[in-house]
């Protein structure tokens, strides 16, 4: 994202997601945050919070530790990348004295004990959002500047319609030095991949609009993308796996599709390792001497 686009995206105000089942507190915080120009989203339980976080990609999450369905720690661990960072900055609100101790080993942006000191909380929100904006500006500026361009180890295209998993994968690859692009539906892949040739494509087996194996089969039949390395992945406990492969075999796409890399895991660390070994192999046989490069 260039700096102009970034500035444009910020005009509507940074997004703050409050995950708390205390209706009055959510209203109180929303009142102040909206007055200060933030866009506020709220969820009364952890499951709803995860859904909103994935869809809306907030700039900051204010997280209550003690809420229904998925408690604070469960919510937190679902948003952690294998590298230990969270996908979004998280600030913890809690009436539990011991929470600070519980979170001492985890990278959260801060804590506040309930009852909340509203003006201190608003200052904290401002501080965290500003710091994040500076970080993003710095990254955008590095991407936009030819002299300071960030070199990358390869282009990765992630096709995954499960938002939490897609975000976790994107973060893991980005942290490992790859240029990451994401698609949330299979139907876009054919045009997209031909126009911006990735080094590796990661495709979820059970996309809602296309079976993943069919997409890979189609990619490999197009002249521009016939040599693109593909990884088809699914959860380890995917009960439909056997059925899907039987169907793929029946449709004749297993042989011609080149499904050499099937991974029964959506764990970012596992997929990262598999992608790296594919790229390594491609480099070794000189199939793709141009893997990696520099983002302009």
């Amino acid at each position: 994202m260039g700096e102009k686009e970034l500035a444009g995206a910020r005009q509507g105000g940074a997004k703050v997601l409050i995950v708390d089942d205390d209706v009055a507190l959510v209203r109180l915080l929303s009142f102040h945050l909206e007055k200060d120009g933030y866009t506020v989203l709220s969820a009364g339980d952890g499951d709803e919070g995860l859904r909103l976080a994935s869809e809306e990609r907030p700039d900051l999450i204010l997280l209550d530790m003690n809420m229904p369905k998925l408690r604070g720690m469960g919510f937190y661990s679902r948003l952690r990348s294998p590298g230990g960072k969270t996908l979004f900055p998280i600030f913890v609100l809690t009436a539990q004295e011991e929470s600070q101790h519980v979170f001492s080993d985890f990278p959260v942006e801060g804590f506040m004990k309930k009852p909340c000191d509203v003006s201190r909380l608003l200052s904290e929100v401002k501080r965290i959002v500003r710091a994040k904006e500076m970080e993003v500006r710095k990254a955008a500026s590095a991407l936009g500047s030819g002299r300071k361009a960030r070199s990358y180890r390869g282009r990765i295209l992630i096709v995954d319609d499960e938002p939490v998993s897609a975000n976790a994968l994107a973060l893991a690859f980005w942290e490992a030095g790859y240029l990451v692009q994401m698609l949330a539906a299979g139907r876009y892949i054919l045009n997209w991949a031909a126009g911006s040739l990735p080094d590796v494509v990661l495709v979820r087996l059970s996309l809602y609009d296309y079976p993943g194996y069919e997409l890979i089969y189609k990619l490999h039949r197009m002249p521009e993308t016939k040599n693109v390395q593909c990884i088809l992945f699914t959860e380890e406990n995917d009960l439909s796996l056997r059925y899907r492969f039987a169907k793929a075999a029946e449709e004749g796409v297993l042989e011609g599709g080149g499904l050499r890399q099937i991974v029964k895991s959506s764990e970012p660390a596992v997929l990262l390792k598999r992608a790296e070994s594919l790229l390594e192999a491609a480099r070794a046989v000189g199939k793709d001497a141009n893997v990696g490069g520099t983002a302009a």
């Binding site: 209706v23 507190l25 209203r27 109180l28 009436a95 309930k114 909340c116 509203v118």
Partner: protein, 106 residues
């Protein structure tokens, strides 16, 4: 119990009509929580859930600076954690009474 609106509005930096709306929101959730607490107390457990209700009331009342209920809820949570049924029942009665009075002030 007497709601100290002036102090609460000053600390929370909100106008009176909005503060009263927040207290009504609190009452909606607190009434449901206390009803559930009554059922649990009658059934004799589980105490963990009673402690959670105390915890919720403590945080929620504290955030709105409803001091008396906040203090009762601290004791309720503690009694739940200690499995002390007689104190839970005593605090339940006190909180019920305080909520009823609060209803008349908003």
């Amino acid at each position: 119990m007497k709601l100290d609106k002036q102090r609460a509005m000053a600390e929370l930096d909100v106008p009176e009509d909005f503060y009263l709306e927040l207290v009504r929101d609190f009452l909606g959730q607190a009434d449901a929580a206390v009803k559930r607490l009554g059922e649990l107390a009658a059934a004799g457990g589980p105490f963990e859930e009673m402690a959670k209700i105390g915890h919720f009331l403590k945080g929620s009342a504290g955030n709105l600076r409803i001091q008396e209920i906040y203090e009762m809820a601290i004791e309720l949570e503690r009694a739940g954690l200690q499995g002390d049924r007689s104190v839970v029942v005593q605090k339940l009665g006190e909180i019920r009474g305080a909520l009823a009075e609060l209803h008349t002030q908003v």
